[in-house]
Every structure is written in structure tokens, then in C-alpha cells.
């Protein structure tokens, strides 16, 4: 009955390899999870008449577009994003933001109504394609998604073939939009973000020695870093990387940045690894100026977060939940009511996506009985037309170019006493 240890070890080793390889593929270590359940829906998908009790004057304005005809009907909006697994917080935020916008629009009772259905992709490409297929069977006319870049690239290709108009809240790589006329972005492209970061540092920290720590298995992080490093050149004294598997310990990278004498540390990454970096820098008494990108937004909202860690951190983000304009305040209140926490940039992007589509539908005078391909062509024409601009939570007067990129201004926020301030 005795089992061979050797056989067991080889089996086990093979398993480790497979798991390690999976993780290297840029997809989180979620393999065959229960999340592949075809009926997974966003918990936030509530009945349309629930919430959305905002005054009619509050919705973002679509600029001065003259409607081409009377838009009407109930349009079917599909959403795809990770709602389980390691990237779940991004998908949940974006889909909840979109749901809030849909509920508000439906509560207005206008001729254009939305039916919204969100599907989970676990941040895995295959699952995203399946989710897309389910939404297509359901009759999706416009896609809000995907939330994360890697799955989005594949889904964008499908949507391009099927001629379904797609607006992603947050998949920011240029690979998402490249060569696909029907694919648009609500967020900055990664290179643009890197360039504006470099611009900002050159202006405000002219002689700084710079360290960059980035996640080299993540297209978002690498995209920003490449553009940034291209601009900064020799002022970068240290570059450290990490991956999905190694994002719990940065003690070596932080010690090396300190050793290289860097006085500005640029962090093109999401807030969660950034939190660990801030913590470990503090532990060894290293206090440079940390500069984060839009993924850094949300750092202050983590439960139990010691805000003194983020003191003096610069965040370059198009959205701040602490803004005091009426639109943001109402959105933040509604989001908090539903999710029990402050919305981050993903939630705002999701919200803006739905309103941008809503405005474009009205501007183009579309009706829900049109074919999906006609809707797609009309929306492409509207988004890229000179007269169409959109002002929402994540920027004023946004316009889109024919390659799907959005033009808007980034804002820099300085974290002081645990809140965003304008430096």
C-alpha cells in the first residue's frame, strides 16, 4: 500500500510549475473557480426603480449637441468585469457605478431607457469571452467593458467582428483600441498617463533622482512605465519590478531605491501593492516623495488604513471622491449607500461610460429597434464627431479621437491629513 514518494513529488512539482506558469500569464491564480457559473451577476444589479432618486438636473451634460432625431426605446447594455477573484474590487466598482447611472437614467423616465446586465470575467480571458457570448445571446446592443486590460483585448476583437459598440471604463492599454474603430476608452491610455506624469515631475521636481517600481506582468503598469521612462531617461536611478506572485514583499526594492538615493519614487500601479510599499518604506525610515497614478486612487478608503502612511503622496488621477461638486457628492452618497464604502476611479468611470453612451444615443437620435451594427456605426460617428463632448465625474469636456482614446486633463492631488488636496 505504500505510495512512492518520488512519484508524489513529481506530481506535486508539476502542480507548482503549472500554478506558477498560470500566474506568469498575467492572469491571477484563479483557475477553475466557481466563478465560471454562467449565471453570475453583479450583486449590484438591482431592480431599475431602486435608487436613482436624484433631481433631473444633475445628470452629466452632453454639451451642446442637437439631437438628430427623437431617441427612444429600451437599450440593452452589457457589462463585463471581474467580480470575483483577485481583481474583483475593480470590476465590482465599475459595474456598480454603471448600475447607478442606469438606475438614474431609468428613474428620469425619459424616452431612452436602459436594461443593464453585468457578467463576471474573473480577470481571465476565456471567462471574459464566455461572458461576452452570454451577453450577446441575451441581446446586448452596447458593451460597457471590459474592466481590466488583458481580457478586454480579446473581447474587443470579438466585439469588433460582431460590430457591437464598446466603451471600456478602465482598460487603458492602447492594445485594447488599436485597429478597432468600435472600441473606445473612458480612462486615459497608459502612455498618456506616463507622459503627463513625466511632465509633472519635470516641472515640479526638476533635479530629482527618480526610482520607479512597476508590475512587469501587468500591461497597465508596464505601459505607463515605458512612456514615463522614455521621457525621464537618465534621471531614473533605480528601477524595480514585481509580479502578481511577488506583490506582498517589497523590502528589497525599497531598500535598493533608498540605497540609490532616489528622492522621488514613481509608482505606476494599483493602490494595494502601493500600500505595502509605503508601509515598508516607513519601516526602514525612507521618506521620498511618492507619486502615484490613477490606480492609486482608493488608497485612503481601505478599511483600517493608517492615513499617516500616505501623507505627502501625490496622486495623479482624473477622479477624487472628496471633490465637492454636486455631481460627485451625489454619486458618492449613492455609491456609499449601496456598497458601504467610497467609490474609486473605476466606479466613476463605469458611471461616466453609461452617461456618455446615453448622451451619444440622444445626440444620434437612435432607437432601440435599430440593428446592433447600425447602432454601432452611429455611435462611432457620434463619439468621434467634433460637436460631441461629455462632462462627467472623471473630467470636463472629454472628447474622443478616431483611435478610441479620450482627451481629458489629469489632476494632481496631494494627500494631506488623510484627504485629497490640490497642491
Amino acid at each position: 500500500m505504500k505510495k512512492s514518494i518520488i512519484r508524489f513529488l513529481s506530481l506535486a512539482l508539476a502542480l507548482v510549475m503549472v500554478l506558477a506558469l498560470c500566474a506568469c500569464g498575467g492572469e491571477t491564480q484563479q483557475g477553475p473557480g466557481p466563478a465560471e457559473n454562467p449565471n453570475t451577476e453583479a450583486p449590484a444589479t438591482e431592480p431599475a426603480d431602486d435608487g436613482g432618486n436624484e433631481p433631473a438636473g444633475d445628470e452629466p451634460s452632453g454639451g451642446d449637441n442637437e439631437p438628430a432625431g427623437e431617441a427612444s426605446g429600451t437599450f440593452k447594455l452589457g457589462g463585463i468585469g471581474p467580480m470575483t477573484g483577485g481583481a474583483a474590487q475593480y470590476g465590482m466598482a465599475a459595474m456598480t457605478g454603471a448600475q447607478i447611472a442606469v438606475d438614474e437614467i431609468n428613474a428620469l423616465g425619459g424616452p431612452v431607457q436602459f436594461e443593464f446586465k453585468a457578467e463576471d470575467d474573473v480577470n481571465v480571458t476565456d471567462t471574459a469571452i464566455n461572458a461576452y457570448g452570454r451577453l450577446k445571446d441575451w441581446g446586448m446592443q452596447v458593451l460597457v467593458g471590459c474592466v481590466t486590460t488583458t481580457p478586454c483585448i480579446s473581447v474587443a476583437q470579438e466585439a469588433n467582428t460582431d460590430r457591437i459598440f464598446a466603451l471600456t471604463p478602465s482598460a487603458s492599454s492602447t492594445d485594447v483600441t488599436a485597429g478597432r474603430d468600435n472600441m473606445f476608452q473612458m480612462c486615459f491610455t497608459d502612455p498618456n498617463q506616463g507622459l503627463s506624469g513625466a511632465e509633472y515631475i519635470k516641472t515640479n521636481f526638476p533635479d530629482a533622482k527618480i526610482a520607479v517600481i512597476y508590475k512587469n506582468d501587468d500591461a497597465y503598469s508596464v505601459g505607463i512605465r515605458d512612456a514615463f521612462a522614455g521621457q525621464m531617461g537618465d534621471s531614473i536611478v533605480y528601477e524595480g519590478t514585481f509580479t502578481d506572485d511577488t506583490q506582498t514583499d517589497f523590502s528589497v526594492q525599497v531598500a535598493a531605491a533608498k540605497d540609490a538615493g532616489a528622492d522621488v519614487v514613481y509608482l505606476p500601479m494599483y493602490y494595494q501593492p502601493a500600500t505595502v510599499i509605503l508601509n515598508q518604506a516607513k519601516a526602514i525610515g525612507y521618506a521620498p516623495t511618492f507619486i502615484g497614478v490613477d490606480g492609486m486612487d482608493g488608497i485612503l478608503d481601505q478599511e483600517n488604513f493608517d492615513a499617516s502612511l500616505a501623507e505627502g503622496v501625490l496622486v495623479m488621477s482624473p477622479f477624487a471622491a472628496s471633490s465637492t461638486d454636486e455631481l460627485t457628492v451625489n454619486f458618492v452618497a449613492e455609491y456609499q449607500k449601496r456598497m458601504g464604502q467610497l467609490p474609486n476611479q473605476f466606479a466613476a468611470d463605469g458611471y461616466d461610460c453609461v452617461y456618455a453612451i446615453y448622451n451619444a444615443i440622444q445626440a444620434a437620435g437612435l432607437t432601440a429597434d435599430m440593428s446592433t451594427a447600425d447602432i454601432c456605426e452611429a455611435l462611432i460617428a457620434t463619439f468621434t464627431s467634433d460637436s460631441f463632448s461629455y462632462s462627467g465625474l472623471t473630467g470636463q469636456g472629454m472628447t474622443w479621437s478616431t483611435n478610441g482614446e479620450v482627451t481629458k486633463l489629469p489632476m494632481a492631488f496631494l494627500i494631506k491629513d488623510g484627504v485629497y488636496t490640490t497642491p
Binding site: M1, K2, K3, S4, I5, I6, F8, L9, L11, A12, L13, L15, V16, M17, L19, A20, A23, C24, T28, Q29, Q30, P32, G33, P34, A35, T84, G85, G86, A88, Q89, M92, N216, G240, T241, F242, T243, D244, D245, T246, T248, D249, S251, V252, Q253, A255, A256, Q272, T275, V276, N279, A283, I284, G285, D301, Q302, E303, N304, F305, D306, Q341
Partner: protein
């Protein structure tokens, strides 16, 4: 000086791997199964301690004890519900079940605690003299290393010098014969899981104290690394898990610091492969020849 601080971060990381690896290796050594859910029990331990400290306001020690108790119960329940019915089944079936349990725990944690990461306040922090901080030594690192050594010694003594330890060694050698000698195999394996899970709770608290963010997937990668450490040191061997974990942590830190942060993981696994080629049963593992 920088070398020293890299070494410290390697040792500190390695000690966490070692504590997790001790749990893996004990369960493997005695029940002859790989408990892939071990990493997720760590995550649960972290959450319980977090909740006890944040929501119930318990002191750190009480929170750690509470999380040990909860994890012990959880470990025994998992063993009883998921693994015991498969005692006579092939090892592959048990392995797959363990992966299933791992996903179950992750998704259950996501339902209970949500997807947003929680920030774990260190449960084991105390002020250190300035000189030590300058060297890159943190209080968490000291506590981790000390508890790792204590746990390893205690486990070795327990397995070698108590009645239960003797029963465990007997089960490890031959379950059937142990049963004939009047040893309650099921109970022995349950106790093994209880100890392993209590260790997982400690590992969870120490892991989260050093690396602060806590989310449903927190345990998976350290779990896999610790499993590697256990194989590296010789799975089934308690001092082997300790040495394997420590070496793995140091190799990882040095590879990151001096070779490439990109290749750190590749180097760790390459070292593992070389070790297994030279010593197929790991550094301290016993080589058992196949009986034909």
C-alpha cells in the same frame, strides 16, 4: 550594509514561509496528503485576527489565540468533511479535493469580508532601538524568526517524545499496521490537522503583520511558495521545512537584489529543480527506495 538589510528581509520572508511549510510538511508526513487548502486557512486566520482586533477591540494576544482556536476547529472540520470520506481513495482524488476546498475558502471569504483589501495593523509590533531599525530589522521580523524557531523545536519534541507523537509516527509509517496496534488513525490525523491549522493561524497573523494587506487571495501565493519550501527541505521532515523556508526566502531576496527582480521567482524554482535533481527527496528528506 545594504547587503545586510537584504539578508534580513530574506530571513524574515523565509521564516514566514517556514512556518507555513511546517504545517504542510506535518500533514504530508503523517496523513500522506498535500493539503493545498493550507494557504487559505492562513488567510482565514488573518481575517479572524483582524476582526477580533478591529471590531471586537480585543488585545493582540487574545486575537491571535482566538484565531488559532477558530482555525483549529476549521482544520478539523475540513478534514472530517472533505478528506476523511476519501481516506481509501487514491492520492490524486484527495489532492483535487484539497484544491476544491482552497477555492471554497477563498470564495467564502470573499462573500463574508468582501473584495476590498483590509489593512492589517501589526499584531506583534513593539518599539525597537534606532540602531536596529537602521539595519532594516523590524519587530515583526524578530517575532517571526523567534516564533518560527520555537515552533520548530516544539513540534520536533512533540512528535518524538509524546504518546500522540508516537501515534503520528506510526500512522506515517504504515496506517494499516498502526490501526492493528490499536491506534485510532482517524483521531491521530484529526489532531495533525488541528496542529497544522493552529500553525496556519499564527503564520497568517505574522504574514499579515509584515505585509499588511489582507484579501481573500492573500494565502494562495505564500501557500505555494511554502509548499515549494517544504519540498525543497524534504517534505515530511520538520527541520527540513524550516531550512527550506529560510533558504527560499534568502535566495528570493538575494536574486531580487543582485540579479533581477524580474527573474527572482524563476531563480527560486530553478534552485528547487537543481536540488531535486541532486537529492530527489529534498535537502533533509529520507530517501525511500521503491520496493519491487
Amino acid at each position: 550594509m545594504v547587503f545586510f538589510s537584504y539578508l534580513i528581509s530574506g530571513i524574515s520572508l523565509g521564516s514566514v514561509y517556514a512556518i507555513i511549510a511546517l504545517g504542510y510538511t506535518m500533514v504530508y508526513g503523517i496523513a500522506k496528503m498535500l493539503n493545498f487548502a493550507h494557504g487559505d486557512v492562513i488567510m482565514v486566520g488573518g481575517y479572524i485576527c483582524y476582526c477580533a482586533m478591529t471590531y471586537l477591540g480585543l488585545p493582540a494576544i487574545a486575537s491571535i489565540l482566538l484565531s488559532m482556536v477558530v482555525c483549529t476547529v476549521l482544520g478539523v472540520v475540513i478534514e472530517g468533511l472533505a478528506y476523511r470520506p476519501l481516506r481509501q481513495a487514491g492520492s490524486l482524488a484527495v489532492l483535487i479535493t484539497a484544491i476544491g476546498v482552497s477555492y471554497f475558502l477563498q470564495n467564502a471569504a470573499q462573500l463574508i469580508w468582501g473584495v476590498t483589501p483590509k489593512i492589517f495593523t501589526s499584531a506583534v509590533s513593539f518599539p525597537l532601538p534606532q540602531g536596529l531599525t537602521d539595519l532594516g530589522i523590524s519587530s515583526e521580523a524578530i517575532v517571526t524568526v523567534v516564533s518560527c524557531v520555537v515552533i520548530m523545536i516544539a513540534l520536533t519534541l512533540f512528535v518524538n517524545h509524546t504518546r500522540m507523537g508516537k501515534a503520528m509516527r506510526a500512522c506515517s509509517e504504515d496506517k494499516g499496521a498502526a490501526q492493528l496496534m490499536g491506534i485510532n488513525v482517524n483521531r491521530t490525523i484529526s489532531v495533525t490537522f488541528a496542529i497544522g491549522s493552529a500553525l496556519a493561524a499564527i503564520a497568517g497573523v505574522l504574514l499579515c503583520s509584515s505585509y499588511t494587506t489582507l484579501m481573500p487571495t492573500t494565502g494562495s501565493m505564500p501557500g505555494i511558495k511554502a509548499f515549494t519550501a517544504a519540498v525543497f527541505g524534504g517534505i515530511g521532515s520538520i527541520p527540513g521545512a524550516f531550512i527550506g523556508g529560510l533558504l527560499l526566502g534568502i535566495i528570493e531576496a538575494m536574486a531580487k537584489a543582485y540579479i533581477s527582480t524580474n527573474l527572482a521567482n524563476a531563480i527560486v524554482f530553478a534552485v528547487l529543480i537543481v536540488v531535486l535533481l541532486v537529492r530527489p527527496s529534498g535537502l533533509l528528506g529520507k530517501y525511500v527506495p521503491e520496493k519491487v
